[in-house]
């Protein structure tokens, strides 16, 4: 079995490119050094290798099932999560007073990525738990923080995000689950949720559901939604677990991939006795959720990137050891076969996977570093600047890895030929697992609308201007390097084109043609995504120039060059569609399909 993560690639991104060590200059991270970051990654790698990766396939084949009303998950998942818990990963970013390690978000994400690459389905339980805990920490009452947070940071309680309902998937404003006051400060909720990940299992002592619902009488639409905490078991003041709450498992959902995570239908209040607590302010449920969205979406993007990476490593290992055929120009049929990595077309597929997956890892870790900057830069303006940049990048951070690392996984199968289509090799599972990422946490279609309809227009386009300024700075630095001059020019041209296209689309939207512009939003997302990733590839390659010569810096340059020659030119086509408000989609009547 090939390695699922290549540590040298992560180390390069963290230490040689994103200057993780520089973060130790900030008060919050002053106790850290490169050695503590590296040690955390070492432990993540060791636990992922020993406990997560070995049951990745088993959990796929032995999907969670119901037995006498109880959800059965492969036992290895619990052992893995116990090891994750004992090592302190649930609290990796929490302050030392809260039992945490106060890791920067950048390093914490890198650690998490190691678990994603090993077993994304088992890693989802802590992902959701950490996200739910962060919400409670940001918006919960002191009492809620006291009763739920320590147990979640210690990994004894797991969390869920219960948003989706049958009629409210992309359109969360249509959520119907209803909360009514019980008179004692708590609420009773009633309604059905679907697709809730980790909604039922026995991997933890308790499950804390964060449920999006509407307080009876609240206005329709997103502004009427509130966030309620529903604990599977009542939690006493002393932290003791009491009576089981009125949350019933309606059923398990059987999926194409990501099978180790239970996907549940949950019925709240079948007996009108589902006790809930309001988190934050009434009517602010969706807004509170969205405040945490930037981070959640980095998590999704990174998961996609790491699946792309794992698939790439498997394909690379296979291509180096599978003998087949002879060089295209070889005449002698009796000479031994060569490893398929010798064939240019196989190298093309490997380069593509490398460019997509390492480009996506760079994108997500860059965004994670912006999270740190938005929290810990000393200057308030600089923090706001980082936050704005993160806002505009977020739809790309979520959607680009999901789209292109799925493509990478497709190529990983292709490199394996027929063997890749079998369950003897891991790549078909990576593909199926990764197929979720364009769908959940806001579909890629919704991300495209968010990017073009909101993010690049907000504050009169200030966020896009910030982004373009950073792209220009990289292009200018690359222009001074003889080896990178061509690419510097190409990046600059792509940035100018993105700018012009955006202005044209904004003008159309302001002039009453929003529908025509947004009909091309997915082309805009591709255009912006590819431009951003080209920028980050050139920026990475600049950092690689400073390394001693060897396969890593050479590989970075090769993948960068490939991306600029084979991928970036696609932007011209996407730009045309948006700029011309192409009507081929928008003007097609549903009846004609």
């Amino acid at each position: 079995m090939a390695a699922f993560v290549r540590r040298a690639d992560l180390d390069f991104l963290l230490f040689d490119w994103l200057d993780a060590e520089g973060l130790t200059g900030r008060a919050r991270f002053a106790d850290h050094g490169r050695e503590t970051f590296a040690a955390a990654l070492d432990t993540a790698e060791a636990i992922a290798a020993r406990h997560f990766q070995p049951h990745n396939r088993k959990a796929d084949i032995e999907e969670p099932r119901l037995e006498n009303g109880r959800v059965v998950v492969v036992p290895e998942a619990k052992a893995a999560l116990d090891a994750f818990r004992e090592a302190g990963f649930f609290a990796m970013e929490a302050a030392p007073e809260a039992g945490g390690m106060a890791l920067p978000h950048l390093v914490a994400q890198a650690c998490f990525g190691v678990f994603d690459a090993a077993n994304i389905a088992t890693a989802s339980y802590p992902l959701l738990t950490i996200a739910a805990a962060n919400l409670i920490e940001s918006f919960g009452s002191d009492d809620q923080k006291r009763r739920y947070l320590p147990a979640m940071r210690a990994g004894r309680f797991f969390g869920t995000m219960a948003l989706t309902e049958p009629q409210a998937g992309s359109s969360l404003g249509d959520v119907r689950t209803t909360a009514t006051p019980a008179g004692d400060g708590t609420w009773r909720i009633k309604g059905g949720k679907i697709f809730i990940s980790g909604g039922e299992h026995e991997l933890s002592d308790n499950i804390v559901h964060l449920v999006l619902c509407r307080i009876a009488g609240a206005p329709p639409g997103p502004k009427g939604l509130s966030l309620m905490l529903v604990s599977k078991y009542a939690v006493g003041d002393d932290g003791s677990l009491g009576r089981r709450n009125d949350v019933a498992l309606g059923g398990l959902i059987h999926k194409m991939g990501w099978r180790g995570t239970t996907s549940t239908v949950l019925n709240f209040g079948e007996r009108d006795a589902c006790v809930a607590e309001l988190v934050g302010e009434p009517g602010r449920g969706l807004a509170q959720m969205f405040q945490m969205m930037n981070e959640a979406r980095i998590g999704v993007g990174l998961g996609a990137a790491m699946l792309g990476h794992a698939g790439y490593l498997a394909a690379l290992d296979y291509a180096r050891t599978r003998p087949q055929g002879r060089p295209a120009d070889a005449k002698d049929v009796t000479r031994p076969q060569v490893a398929i990595v010798e064939h240019a077309d196989v190298r093309r597929m490997l380069l593509a996977q490398k460019a997509y997956s390492e480009g996506a890892m760079a994108l997500c870790l860059y965004a994670a570093r912006l999270v740190d900057d938005s929290r810990t830069l000393p200057d308030a303006d600089a923090r706001a600047h980082a936050h704005r940049l993160l806002d505009v990048l977020t739809p790309i951070v979520k959607a680009w890895p999901a789209e292109w690392c799925l493509e990478a996984n497709k190529l990983a199968i292709q490199v394996h030929g027929g063997y890749g289509f079998t369950r003897e090799y891991p790549v078909e599972q990576f593909y199926r697992d990764n197929r979720l990422n364009p769908i959940h946490e806001g579909t890629n279609g919704i991300q495209a609308l968010d990017l073009l309809g909101r993010k690049v227009t907000m504050q009169d386009g200030a966020a896009l201007a910030d982004l373009l300024a950073r792209i220009d700075a990289t292009a200018a630095r690359a222009a001074a390097e003889p080896a990178l001059q061509d690419m510097a020019g190409a990046l600059d041209a792509a940035a100018r084109r993105l700018d012009r296209v955006t202005q044209a689309a904004r003008a159309a939207m302001a002039g009453g043609r929003a529908g025509a512009a947004l009909a091309n939003a997915s082309a805009y997302l591709d255009l912006a995504g590819h431009t951003v990733v080209a920028w980050l590839w050139l920026d990475q390659t600049l950092a690689a120039l400073r390394l001693p010569d060897g396969p890593l810096p050479r590989g970075k340059r090769a993948a960068c060059r490939w991306f600029f020659r084979w991928e970036l030119p696609k932007c011209a086509h996407w730009a045309d569609l948006v700029e011309q408000l192409d009507g081929s989609v928008g003007e097609t009547d549903p009846d004609w399909l």
């Binding site: 390695a3 040298a8 432990t43």
Partner: protein, 249 residues
């Protein structure tokens, strides 16, 4: 009782080893390094002794380049109390390591020294034995079970054909085998605690030892590549091949 554990920085066991082009050794530049797995078992055993109230202090000792500090930090994060780095850029052979450790032991006066039975880079399996000889201490090598009973240690050893349990007086040398225990991970809170634990650095000269190599490496080569297997059609063909090609029957 004070316990001293020796921890060696080696190429990580997951790394595919590559021989240097000039055949003078294996490639270690840009290669992931970590603690010798047998030494991890040694640290774990010492920490368990401390948790059981038998050991009072654990000192982790590493010898070699400055980066061996990282290996000591790992030991500290697993539960050792302090570290000693004997710093040198010299290539260290088992005899030199044993002499240096002897000097450290004389200074620290531990009741027990735990080493890995071998390091996964050179597989020499000599250091513990040499150290015992130099100190004139009893030794129990290849330990799969260790129990301290007052000033004695009962050690179960993995020997050819089974297990042997011996009782030795302390102070003594114990070298670890794979089944002694399953080492813990360095947990995140303990990584932070380890940062504050002291590491003392000394040079071989401070210990009065000349660590210069006594052996000359002629060349290092890859093991011969395994030939791909074939499928035989009949038993007769198999027997024939075993006779004529493999020449084993």
């Amino acid at each position: 009782m004070k316990v001293l554990v020796a921890v060696k920085r080696v190429v990580d066991y997951n790394v595919k080893i590559r021989v240097k082009a000039d055949k003078t050794g294996v490639e270690t530049a840009n290669v992931k390094m970590s603690m010798n797995p047998f030494d991890e078992i040694g640290v774990e055993e010492a920490v368990r002794l401390k948790e059981a109230g038998v050991a009072t202090e654990i000192v982790a000792v590493s010898l070699g380049v400055p980066q061996c500090q990282e290996t000591i930090r790992t030991a500290l994060a697993m539960g050792a109390d302090r570290g000693i780095l004997v710093e040198t850029d010299q290539v260290l052979e088992p005899l030199a390591v044993a002499k240096l450790l002897k000097a450290v032991v004389e200074k620290e006066q531990p009741g027990l020294v735990v080493l890995g039975k071998q390091a996964i880079d050179d597989d020499a399996n000599q250091t513990g034995q040499m150290l015992a000889a130099l100190l004139g201490w009893p030794q129990a090598t290849f330990a799969s079970k260790l129990a301290i009973d007052g000033d004695k240690a009962d050690v179960t050893r993995e020997v050819d054909g089974g297990l042997e349990t011996i009782r030795i007086p302390l102070p003594a040398i114990v070298t670890t085998d794979l089944r002694l225990n399953e080492p813990r991970y360095a947990s995140l809170p303990n990584i932070m605690k380890a940062k504050k634990k002291p590491i003392e650095t000394v040079k071989p000269a401070d210990l009065g030892v000349d660590p210069a190599p006594r052996l000359v490496t002629l060349k290092v080569e890859e093991p011969a590549k395994r030939q791909a297997g074939i499928k035989v059609k009949t038993v007769a063909e198999l027997v024939d091949k075993l006779k004529t090609e493999a020449r084993v029957i």
